[in-house]
Amino acid sequence: MISRVAGNCFWLNRYMERAGSMARLLRVNRAFVPGVDLPQLQRWHPLVIVAGEQKAYARFHGEDENGETVQEYLTWDTRNTTSIVESVRVARENARTAREAVSSEMWETVNALYHWLTRGPGRRLYRSDRDHFYQHIREMGELFHGQADETMLNGEPLAFMRLGRYLERAGQTARLMDVNYHTFPDERAIDDPIRLAQWTALLACCSATEPFQKRSFGTPEARDVVNFLLFEPDLPRSVSHCLRAARHSLVQVRGYGSNRIGTMSTALLEALLSHIALREGQPIVGTELHEELTYLVDSVSDMCTAVEQEFFQHADLQTQISIAEGNGGAAQQ
């Protein structure tokens, strides 16, 4: 498929994933904050960190850590490239640009969500029933990804969409854990109510509350939660599951064409997967966990850069020409 359009597919799904996770995160935090007695800075500020927006946020709002200000910034602020409204706008631009590659069902969902947000109804619901507002966005995100699986031909565009979705998700889970790593200081059982609430919220942010209950018995320990979110192969948002799903899509993508494209992306992903396989089942706590998560976040980010360069940009015309010459005989037969 056209490199540029493959990029549109990849980014479309990344941004929809991002908008959905941000909505889930905001909704969970709204439920979490009133129930625990936390210092002001630990209430809403962690969300700004997850979004990677500390600097920009400080520039616009200084030390104002009021929940309303943070929610407004992460939901509506068009100066914030990770805000929900911006993610949806960029997703829609990618879909509009690549409509020939995106199913009509998916397009209509993104288009409807964008207009709902920007033409009034979304704003009204935000004011009157905010939980419902975030839930709607999350549901539209789920609808969108479901439509991708249900309405797209199982081919290259879908493979790029899934690649984008899973890489975004892997990075998101790792970042979420990293922001909370200080709540995993040791291997003691979770008995402190505040920490229990924090862990529960973290699981909820990863849609992992019920799955975790099904897999854990007795009083959970820190390592159980960490292992679950990092390594549980059956959890849709665990880092390990997302990277394996990404590998599946990458293999699929490479199967469509020349072996010469995608070697760097594949090498990075395989290295990351072996790294994870080695760590699996070992207790990781405290600062060691922070280092581990930083490594994961950075590696996923490098991986995205490699995909971008190898598949979408094709800046190197010389490579193109040499492949063209290699294919030349075949084309003329």
């Binding site: 056209i2 540029r4 493959a6 640009t97 020939e100 397009w107 290259e156 193109q320 063209a324």
Partner: protein, 496 residues
């Protein structure tokens, strides 16, 4: 929506849709005769619409607009990412053409396209028509659309006009006349297909009973025509649609056509030329491109040959084209056939190349380059429509009867300063069609852009884009200037 839904809706005291409709005097109306009664061949259909009533009609108009908006059938009003998008105003009252009228249009268009194609082949080849003095050389060579760079290049299969959107109007006597030839990159066909989809959803029963000829095969016909010009066999050929990009106002259409043909939509930077072959950059490396349906202007196609500053085109494209390795639709250089002074010679072309009499009439044209015609034009500006010869989209135009004295004066000096740049025509009383504006149906002027595609032969879509001037009394139907669109229903011939 099930069709009995429509039947179950009674008028229930509502006003008839078209009650009190009065056609304009001395103007042909598409649905109503001069006596104020529906025309006989469409009477049944008009009555079915009438029976819907106004409230129901407005409900359905809302449904239709919602469907177009949700589907993103929009054009962008400003050309940046924050720009507004609007739906092309769409009027639900169809414009109806009985089958007996359509046959002549279809034959007339095929004939005209054949002549224009022969003309392009000739002016970029032997130039017989100039040597035999049927058309002045200065007119051809002076036209902005004439590209000496493509002289001597013969396009694959000799097809220049793959896609034609020749504008027709209807004068007071009801005769269809050609107003303009559009054989560069005529747009609007996506609206025809999307409007039709909506009409079938909101008027299922009226539609079914009226026996409307289908338009849905357009993308397949276009694809077949494009493939017919490929140098490789169809199943090995790659077609792409070349767009200026997502901020172009017609991007929806470019994307729509690529989707409907199942081919890739590309921007200039997705393509490159190597050893006179065109390649597209794909995720698995470059692939050869055989046919380019381009929706960018000639000037921007190849910065090595035309505008150097063009970032939209593909360096080396014309060389690949000249080598016969890629087919470009429509052919570069077609602009000379759209020239409004050349237009007046099309009937002569039909006689010259085809040895036939023109089937479709056209509007009498004064070429200001000729002294006698120019004098007549400048003395009668208040009765004339003046057009720039290389203009399009309703720009660079003076509509004499509506223009202010200052505007007429300004055009008078422009014509005198650059007579070669202008032509003029007498005002034609464009036909009207009932159109829903501000809560009632009133007569509004319409034109018709039927679409024809040519590969190994020419196929004319039964119907086309009816554009309507939404302002009362206005003659300007262009979407950029307050125009809307209607679905065009060409009816099946009645069964024998």
């Amino acid at each position: 929506m099930p069709s009995d839904f429509e039947q179950s809706v009674g008028l229930a005291g509502d006003t008839l849709l078209l009650e009190g409709y009065a056609p304009l005097p001395r103007t042909y109306d598409e649905l109503y005769a001069a006596d104020g009664k529906p025309r006989e061949d469409v009477a049944e259909l008009v009555s079915a619409l009438d029976q819907l009533g106004r409230t129901e009609f407005m409900t359905r108009q809302k449904l239709a607009e919602g469907a177009l908006f949700r589907g993103g059938v929009t054009f962008s009003v400003y050309s940046d990412s924050q720009g507004q998008e609007k739906i092309f105003p769409f009027d639900l009252i169809p414009r109806v053409i009985p089958s007996s009228h359509w046959d002549a249009i279809e034959r007339g268009l095929k004939q005209r396209i054949a002549a224009l194609n022969a003309f392009l082949c000739d002016v970029y080849g032997e130039q017989r028509i100039i040597k035999e003095e049927r058309i002045p050389a200065s007119l051809v060579h002076g036209s902005a659309g004439y590209l000496k760079e493509v002289s001597g290049i013969r396009p694959p299969k000799g097809v220049y006009v793959h896609i034609a959107g020749i504008d027709l109007i209807r004068g007071a006597d009801g005769e269809f006349l050609v107003l303009e030839d559009n054989v560069r990159t005529p747009s609007g066909v996506s609206y025809v297909l999307e409007n039709r989809l909506v009409m079938k959803r909101v008027f299922p029963d009226v539609f079914r009973r009226s026996r409307v000829r289908p338009v849905e095969s357009y993308p397949k016909r276009l694809q077949a025509a494009l493939l017919a010009t490929s140098a490789r066999p169809p199943h090995e050929s790659r077609i792409v649609v070349l767009t200026p990009g997502p901020y172009n106002s017609a991007y929806f259409e470019h994307s729509f056509l690529a989707r409907q043909m199942g081919c890739d939509l590309v921007e200039g930077s997705d393509l490159f030329v190597h050893e006179k072959r065109v390649y597209v950059k794909t995720t698995s490396g470059p692939e050869v491109v055989d046919v380019i349906y381009r929706r960018i202007d000639d000037d921007f196609l190849d910065p090595r040959v035309f505008r150097e500053d063009s970032a939209l085109g593909v360096p080396g494209l014309i060389e690949a084209y000249a080598a016969g390795n890629v087919s470009i639709a429509n052919a570069p250089g077609n602009g000379v056939a759209d020239n409004k002074a050349i237009y007046s010679f099309v009937p002569d072309m039909i006689r010259f190349y085809l040895d036939e009499e023109p089937i479709l009439g056209q509007v009498e044209t004064y070429i200001c380059a000729e002294a006698k015609a120019r004098d007549h034009v400048v003395d009668n500006l208040a009765k004339m429509v003046v057009k720039a010869v290389d203009g399009s989209g309703g720009y660079g135009m003076l509509f004499g009867p509506r223009a202010s004295k200052e505007e007429r004066e300004s055009f008078r000096s422009q014509i005198l300063a650059n007579p070669d740049g202008y032509i003029a025509q007498h005002v034609v009383e464009l036909s009207t069609c009932p159109t829903w504006v501000d809560g009632e149906a009133g007569p509004r002027r319409v034109d018709l852009r039927p679409f024809a595609v040519t590969g190994s032969d020419t196929w004319v879509m039964p119907g086309g884009l009816t554009r309507v001037a939404l302002r009362a009394g206005s003659y300007v139907v262009n979407s950029s200037q307050g125009g809307g669109s209607k679905d065009t229903w060409v009816l099946e011939a009645s069964s024998p």
